[in-house]
Amino acid sequence: MGHISQQFFDLGYLDTLASGDSPVHRLDPRVKLITTLAFIATVVSFDKYSISGLIPFAIFPAVQISIAGLPAGYLLKKVLWVSPFAVLVGIFNPLIDQDILLHIGSIGISGGWVSFSSILIRCLLTVTSALILIASTGFDTLCAALQRLGVPRPFVVQLMFLYRYIFVLMDEATRMVRAVSLRSFNSGAMHFRIFVPMMGHLLLRTLDRSQRIHLAMKCRGFDGHIRVIRFMKIRSTDIFFATGCLTFFIVLKYCNISYELGHLITRLIP
């Protein structure tokens, strides 16, 4: 459990990264959000067996990481934390789809394995780009950008509060688990009989806290609207970045650069 809570506090590190300064950090958050969404949509839109077409897309996150000076190792570790979901999605493909699709030397590779790797590559690309977005923008600014883009206010506010209080909630849960483990001397998994009332207790505490927060908000004049000051201005660099990225995605979508490059090389080397 301590391990998980550590992971959550590590999440705060993304915010620290967001306070940096680089050409990527300086881009308008709305532009970054839209290009990242376009990137994710394009990556997801490829057909299930494509691998070579997806590889060039790694350029987008790679360039962003290097310009923004983000720690690639840290981001990859975060991706590994969510990768089990992608693995679960694709794990049965090799069993179901056993038609041989390609040969590497004399080894035949089935369609299932190809689509499974395709899923993993997509997961890697999309999650990395989402993490880069947060690490170069900051969650709060991103929420403000969502609101400016016309996302309904309740969603944005929920997201903002989720991010603000997940740390407090984790802290509370960690303390409870620690209290239980200190007095249940036989180390091992927590018994269901203890886990259920503990979760209930946590829920009650959360409700209590939410009431106090609401009170504090009302005391400071909350009327259903959350107002934040964020100056956002779209400059020429933003437009240049957005058009450049979008053109790049479209080109990659309709022209398989890996294939063309391989084709070119095999032609050059007889």
Binding site: G12, D15, S19, F139, D140, C143, M160, F161, Y163, R164, Y165, F167, V168, R209, R212, I213, L215, A216, M217, K218, C219, R220, G221, F222, D223, H225, I226, R227, V228, I229
Partner: protein
């Protein structure tokens, strides 16, 4: 301004589950006074504080803030003049960054962006934490959180400051910094606390609550020397007024007049 006066008349409050919260509380606090509200756990301190800005409505009795009676209609005016600092700063700092949090009140008042920025920076400077403005609240220490919570209340320039346990969970140095900060404020102050030494430092007047009713209301120095009264109300003398445990003698003390 007469807004600084708080008057409570015969307040009664019963919680929905039937627990008695307040049992006939009356007092009048005038402009610039600094009043400590002390009492054992469950004496009704927090309940009383929540009445002062209309967060709870008395079952019976009236509250006046300055010239106006506290009714649901003028809640907004009252909440502007009564700034409330909650016990747990995590409840109060709900916005993503320190700046946003302090700006929350002023923005709700409909001030212009430049005015808001000015108020926020001034409030942050008053409590000495302007360097934290871009930080998310979960990365602050307990003392910093408390300071920001106070700044968030100061940003709407209230006339009256109401605080619930301002020194709880603070290390000794943050605590003395807080006392110094609060003593510099000219506001009318109502401080509910278990920290009787803090009460001695900051408040000339003390109201003692016991089981929802006032058992004493008077000069802090008189009340804190009245051992019979304190023990009747479930309290003890402030540490400073107790005998020195090492030399076995009573320490010398000086009370602020």
């Amino acid at each position: 301004m007469s807004h600084h006066i708080i008057q409570a008349q015969d307040l009664y409050y019963t919680y929905p589950d039937g627990t008695m919260g307040l049992n006939g509380v009356s007092f009048r606090i005038i402009h610039g006074e600094s009043v400590a509200l002390v009492g054992a756990n469950g004496a009704g301190k927090s309940t009383l504080l929540l009445h002062l800005n209309g967060s709870l409505n008395p079952t019976k009795g009236k509250i006046r803030i300055g010239d106006i009676p506290l009714t649901p209609k003028n809640l907004k005016t009252v909440r502007r003049s009564v700034g409330m600092v909650f016990q747990d700063p995590d409840d109060q700092l709900f916005m993503p960054t320190v700046f946003d949090d302090v700006a929350f009140g002023p923005l709700n008042l409909g001030l212009s962006v430049t005015e808001v920025e000015h108020n926020v920076m001034q409030a942050l400077e008053t409590v000495g934490v302007s360097h934290l403005k871009k930080r998310p609240p979960f990365k602050l220490s307990g003392g910093e959180k408390r300071s920001v919570a106070i700044a968030a209340v100061l940003a709407v320039s209230p006339d009256i400051l109401v605080m619930d346990e301002p020194s709880s969970n603070l290390d000794p140095r943050s605590r003395s910094r807080l006392i110094k900060l609060l003593s510099a404020f000219q506001h009318t102050k109502i401080i509910a606390t278990h920290d009787l030494d803090l009460a001695m430092d900051l408040c000339e007047r003390t109201i003692v609550l016991h089981q929802g009713a006032i058992t004493a209301d008077g000069l802090t120095r008189d009340i804190f020397q009245d051992e019979a009264l304190l023990s009747r109300s479930g309290l003890e003398k402030p540490l400073r007024l107790q005998g020195c445990p090492i030399c076995g003698q009573r320490t010398e003390f000086q009370l602020r007049a």
